[in-house]
Symmetry: C2
Subunit: 325 residues, 2 copies
C-alpha cells in the first residue's frame, strides 16, 4: 500500500469513527448543529498528524484513533466559534452553523463540541492521559489568545511581521503542535522524540497558515469552499497584507488603500488587489516563507528514527506545502 | 465561629483565590473580558457546595479550594455565553460581557473560561482526578442540552411541567449535582456518601431554579442586579408561566396573552403580570415546589454521618430556600 492509499485509509478510519459518533447521539436541537461541520469532510489533517506521530514513535493506533477524533472535534469547535466572530457565512462549501441556524445555536454547538472532545479523551485508558489532557488544554488557551490577537489586529493599523508570526503561532500552529505532541505522548515517546514531533507540528502549522493566507486570495471558491479574498473583506492582517504594506511602492499602497476604504469589495476589486500583490512580489515572498517553515518542519523529523510513519509525516508536510485548497 | 462566619470565611478564601488568578494573567484583550464577571462577586454557591461536600466526607480542603474555583469558572463560562444567547444586558448589577465589549469578545471570553477551568482541575494532584474531570465534563454536556431545551421552549407553545422539570434538571440542577459529587470524590468518599451528596446537589439545584424563577419577577433590580421580569420579556418558560397557563381562569389567561403579544413590555406591564400570577396562586405553588425540593435535598443529607460540614450544607440549603436574591 503506497502513501496516498495509507493516508486515504487512515482518513476513512477517522471519518467512520466520526460518523459512528454522530449516529450515536440523539437527534436533539443540540446535536444536529454540533455535527453539521464535523460531518462535512475537511482534510482531517490534525487527526492524521496525531495518528502518524503516535506511530512514528512506535505507538499503538487504538488509543490514537479516538484521540484523533477528539483533535478534529477541538478544531471544529474553534471553527464554529471563529466563523461567528469573523462573520463567515460559508465553510467547506456549506453554510456555517450560525448562518444555517443562528448565533445562539452556533455558540452552544461550539460549547457542546469542546465538551464532547474532553469526553472522548477522558474515555481513553492510558497511563499518560493527564499529560495528554494538559497538552490539549494548555494549547486551547493559547489558541484563545491567538484568536484575541487576530481580532485585535483587524482594527490596528501597523502590524509588523513579528506580530503576525506570534499570532499565527498561537492561532493556527499551536493546535498542529498539540496534536503531534499528544500523538507522541500516546505512543509513549521519550522526551526527545516528543520534543522533535512537537517542533515539527509547530513549524508545519506556521507553513500551513501562510499557505492558507495565499490560498484565500489565489484559489477559487469552487476549490476552497469559501469566497475568494474573505481575509481582505474582513480586514484581516495576513502574511500578504503585511508584506505588501512593507514592500510595495507608495503608489501601489495608495491604490490598495482606496480599495480598503470601500464599504464592500466586489470580486473585481479582489482581483485588482491580487494583481497589486503580484506586482509587489508578495506571493513570491509568501511562497518562500511557506518553504522555509516546511523545511524547518522536515528537519525536526530527521531527529526521529526512520520508519514508515515518519516518512508519511514528511510526505504529508510536502503535500501541505503544495496544496491548492 | 458560627455558621455565617464559617461561610463568609470560605467565600473569602474562594474570592481571594480568584483574585490571585486574575492578577496572575497578563492584561491581554482576552483576559479582561474573561475576568469581568468572575471578579464581580456573586454568591459563590457552587464553590461553597464543593468545599463543604468535600469536608462532609472527611476530605482535605487543599484540593477542594482549587477545584471550587474551577467550579465557579465553569459556572461563569455558562453565564457569559447564556447572556449572549438570552440577550441579557445586565448581570450582578454590571453590564454583561457582550454588552461591555461585543459578542465576539464574549464568545471568546467564555471559551477562555472553560479552558481555564480545565487547566486548574488538571493541576490538582489527586488519585481520583480522572473521575473528577469526567464528572464535570459529563455534567457540562448535560448543561448544553439543557440550554438547548431552554432556547427551544421559547418558541414552543405548550410546555408542561414535566418538560420544565427535565429542562431545569439539565440546565441548573446538574451543575449543583456535579460540584457536590466532585467535592465528595475529592474527599475520597465511599460510593454511598458520594451518591447522597450527588442527590443532595440535584434536589437543591431544582429548588434553587424554581426560587430563581420566582425572584426574577418578585425581586427588585437593586437586589438582583438584573431587570425585573426578564424571563417574561425573553418569553422564557418558567415554573410560574407554566403553572399560570395550567391553573389560571380563561379570563386571566386572555389578559396575560395580550401582554405577551406586545412587542416590548413596560415595567407596569410586568407588575400587572405579577398581579395576575398572584391571583392564580402561582407564587404559592412555586413556593411549595421550592419547599418540596429543599426537603428532598435535606433528606439526602440525613444519609451522611453527622459533622459540622454536613450541618453547614443543611443551613446553606435553608438559606437558599429563603433567599431574596
Amino acid at each position: 500500500m503506497g502513501f496516498d492509499a495509507r493516508i486515504e485509509n487512515l482518513r476513512n478510519q477517522v471519518d467512520s469513527e466520526i460518523q459512528n459518533l454522530c449516529r450515536s447521539k440523539r437527534t436533539e436541537s443540540l446535536y444536529e448543529p454540533m455535527f453539521h461541520l464535523l460531518e462535512s469532510g475537511g482534510k482531517r489533517i490534525r487527526p492524521l498528524l496525531l495518528i502518524l506521530s503516535c506511530r512514528a514513535v512506535g505507538g499503538d493506533i487504538d488509543n490514537g484513533i479516538h484521540a484523533a477524533v477528539a483533535a478534529e472535534i477541538f478544531h471544529t469547535f474553534t471553527l464554529v466559534h471563529d466563523d461567528i466572530m469573523d462573520h463567515d457565512s460559508m465553510r467547506r462549501g456549506r453554510p456555517t452553523v450560525h448562518e444555517k441556524w443562528d448565533e445562539a445555536t452556533a455558540i452552544l454547538a461550539g460549547d457542546g463540541l469542546v465538551t464532547l472532545a474532553y469526553q472522548i479523551l477522558l474515555n481513553l485508558n492510558h497511563p499518560r492521559l493527564i499529560e495528554v489532557l494538559q497538552t490539549f488544554t494548555n494549547g486551547l488557551m493559547i489558541l484563545c489568545e491567538g484568536q484575541a490577537m487576530d481580532k485585535a489586529f483587524e482594527t490596528r493599523e501597523s502590524i509588523v511581521l513579528q506580530d503576525y508570526e506570534q499570532m499565527i503561532e498561537k492561532k493556527t500552529a499551536k493546535l498542529m503542535e498539540v496534536v503531534c505532541e499528544a500523538g507522541a505522548i500516546l505512543g509513549d515517546a521519550c522526551k526527545s522524540d516528543q520534543e522533535s514531533l512537537r517542533c515539527f507540528g509547530l513549524a508545519l502549522g506556521k507553513g500551513f497558515q501562510v499557505q492558507d493566507d495565499i490560498l484565500d486570495i489565489l484559489s477559487e471558491e469552487s476549490v476552497t469552499g469559501k469566497p475568494v479574498g474573505s481575509d481582505i473583506v474582513e480586514r484581516k492582517k495576513t502574511y500578504l497584507t503585511i508584506h505588501f504594506m512593507n514592500h510595495a511602492s507608495e503608489a501601489q499602497i495608495k491604490r490598495y488603500q482606496t480599495y480598503l476604504e470601500k464599504k464592500s469589495l466586489s470580486h473585481e476589486d479582489i482581483l485588482s488587489i491580487r494583481e497589486l500583490f503580484r506586482q509587489a512580489r508578495t506571493f513570491e515572498s509568501g511562497r518562500q516563507a511557506v518553504d522555509q517553515h516546511i523545511g524547518d518542519a522536515l528537519a525536526c523529523l530527521d531527529e526521529l528514527p526512520s520508519c514508515e510513519a515518519t516518512e508519511d509525516l514528511k510526505r504529508l508536510a510536502l503535500k501541505i506545502q503544495n496544496r491548492i485548497h
